[in-house]
């Protein structure tokens, strides 16, 4: 049986750990709320963008932008992977990477080459061990990612697509479903698939300044960027939710451990007292 002193110091150290995990849990909870709020704020922009683009493409059926034009032959695909910068977020990153690997295998199985674009340092740490070209990366965006930090990264992929180096572009991130559930999702960014043109039956057209093609180009680029931004913000919300749950579990486990240790400590102490008593009694009997 270990000495009472060792058990006591062990309890103290577990208690310290529990304090840290509890604090992290609370921080993650408040950060998650803020990230959710930012997710909500990003929605109207994307919605308006989609409306305008939908209308534009409807009104100009003869002009086909490369971003809207599916390519017959797919030789190479790009994947933008959004991961976190920090760990201690449960299986969040692992799930995103698994989804990415699955997507990669699927395309590589068809003889299509895959290149990556990585957002978040955990993604970089994981994927650079694989033998895949990494076209661009950005990390340490913090808890409040900004569009301006993502423009460059997105541009690399958009340019590669425009020049024909990529035929498809995917985006993988952890979708925030609720506090308990975050699901890795892969969606196709380019060519853009779902621009809903429903509810745009009226055949009227805008006055364009400058010409429609340039406006469409500018809008589509911003639309993709806003999608990447949304993914980054959503990933922060997911990260915080996952961390919150992971830290809650850690705190609970620490509590259990402390209870068990406390029991062992009590037993050890009682055993020591009994031993001492029996020694005294034995000693008295001998006299």
């Amino acid at each position: 049986m270990p000495g009472t002193k060792e058990i006591r110091s062990k309890i103290a150290s577990v208690k310290n750990t529990q304090k840290i995990t509890k604090a992290m849990q609370m921080v993650a909870t408040s950060k998650m709320r803020r990230a959710q709020e930012r997710m909500r704020l990003a929605r109207p922009y994307a919605q308006k963008m989609r409306n305008v683009i939908g209308h534009l493409t409807e009104a100009n059926p003869d002009y086909r932008h490369p971003f809207l034009q599916p390519r017959e032959e797919v030789k190479s695909v790009g994947i933008i992977v959004v991961a976190t910068d920090r760990g201690l977020a449960g299986a969040l990153n692992a799930n995103v990477f698994k989804q990415t690997l699955y997507l990669m295998r699927e395309w590589q199985g068809k003889g299509v080459s895959v290149s990556l674009c990585l957002i978040g340092s955990k993604g970089l740490a994981f994927f650079r061990r694989l033998n895949v070209p990494i076209l661009a990366s950005v990390s340490h965006l913090g808890d409040r990612p900004h569009v301006k930090d993502l423009i460059g990264t997105a541009k690399v992929m958009l340019d590669a697509y425009r020049e024909g180096q990529l035929d498809r572009l995917f985006l993988v991130n952890a979708q925030f479903i609720n506090t308990m559930t975050q699901k890795p999702v892969a969606e196709q960014l380019l060519p853009i698939q779902s621009i809903d043109t429903e509810g745009l039956q009226e055949r009227w057209d805008y006055i364009y300044e400058p010409e429609a093609a340039r406006i469409l180009d500018g809008l589509l680029m911003r639309y993709i960027e806003s999608q990447v931004y949304r993914a980054a913000v959503e990933n922060v919300a997911s990260e915080m939710a996952a961390r919150m749950v992971a830290m809650k579990a850690a705190s609970d486990n620490a509590g259990k451990l402390i209870n068990e240790l406390q029991l062992i400590y009590n037993k050890a102490r009682q055993a020591a007292i009994t031993k001492e008593l029996s020694e005294i009694v034995g000693g008295a009997a001998a006299v």
């Binding site: 930012r38 704020l41 990003a42 109207p44 922009y45 994307a46 308006k48 963008m49 305008v52 534009l56 674009c117 990585l118 970089l124 650079r128 061990r129 990494i134 076209l135 661009a136 990366s137 950005v138 990390s139 900004h146 569009v147 301006k148 423009i151 460059g152 990264t153 541009k155 690399v156 340019d159 009227w204 057209d205 805008y206 006055i207 364009y208 300044e209 400058p210 429609a212 340039r214 406006i215 500018g218 809008l219 911003r222 960027e225 806003s226 931004y229 949304r230």
Partner: protein, 142 residues
């Protein structure tokens, strides 16, 4: 029809809503020159330059918003400004793209270092294990 004397304005950016409300007149720095939009303006779609969007409310108040660029969509009863939060210019974007590429390349170069480091560590572990065996053998013999 009081409705036709005002026009609904929404200024949104990717990071959030900036302004939403009714206006008597809106001025925006379109790419071909500043435009003023009054209620019942013809449908218009234009890109914006970095500059100031000015919203004149029906009671004569003025609101100013700085936009880094973006786009403006005008319909007879509503104006939507899709504002950029970042200042955009071709060379700024280009520089950002270059930086993103460089980061990726650096990360890949680091990988080589990591591999050599890992290899060196493995080599060290192997050497240490051999030493241990030699020592043990020596003890047995003596």
């Amino acid at each position: 029809m009081a409705e036709q004397h005002t026009i609904h304005v929404d200024i949104v950016s990717a990071e959030g809503e900036i302004f939403s409300g009714d206006a008597a007149m809106v001025f925006a720095p379109a790419s071909e020159g500043e435009i003023g939009v009054a209620p019942r303006h013809a449908p218009l779609l234009s890109l914006l330059k970095p500059g100031e969007v000015r919203v004149q409310t029906p009671d004569g108040e003025q609101h100013f918003f700085f936009v880094g660029g973006g786009a403006i969509e005008v319909q007879p009863s509503r104006v939507t400004v899709l504002a950029d939060t970042a200042l955009r210019a071709k060379d700024i974007d280009e520089a950002a793209a270059l930086a993103a590429k460089q980061r990726a390349e650096e990360a890949l170069r680091d990988r080589a270092d990591h591999i050599t480091q890992a290899e060196a560590l493995a080599e060290l572990a192997r050497a240490a294990a051999q030493l241990k065996i030699i020592e043990r053998l020596r003890k047995v013999r003596s």
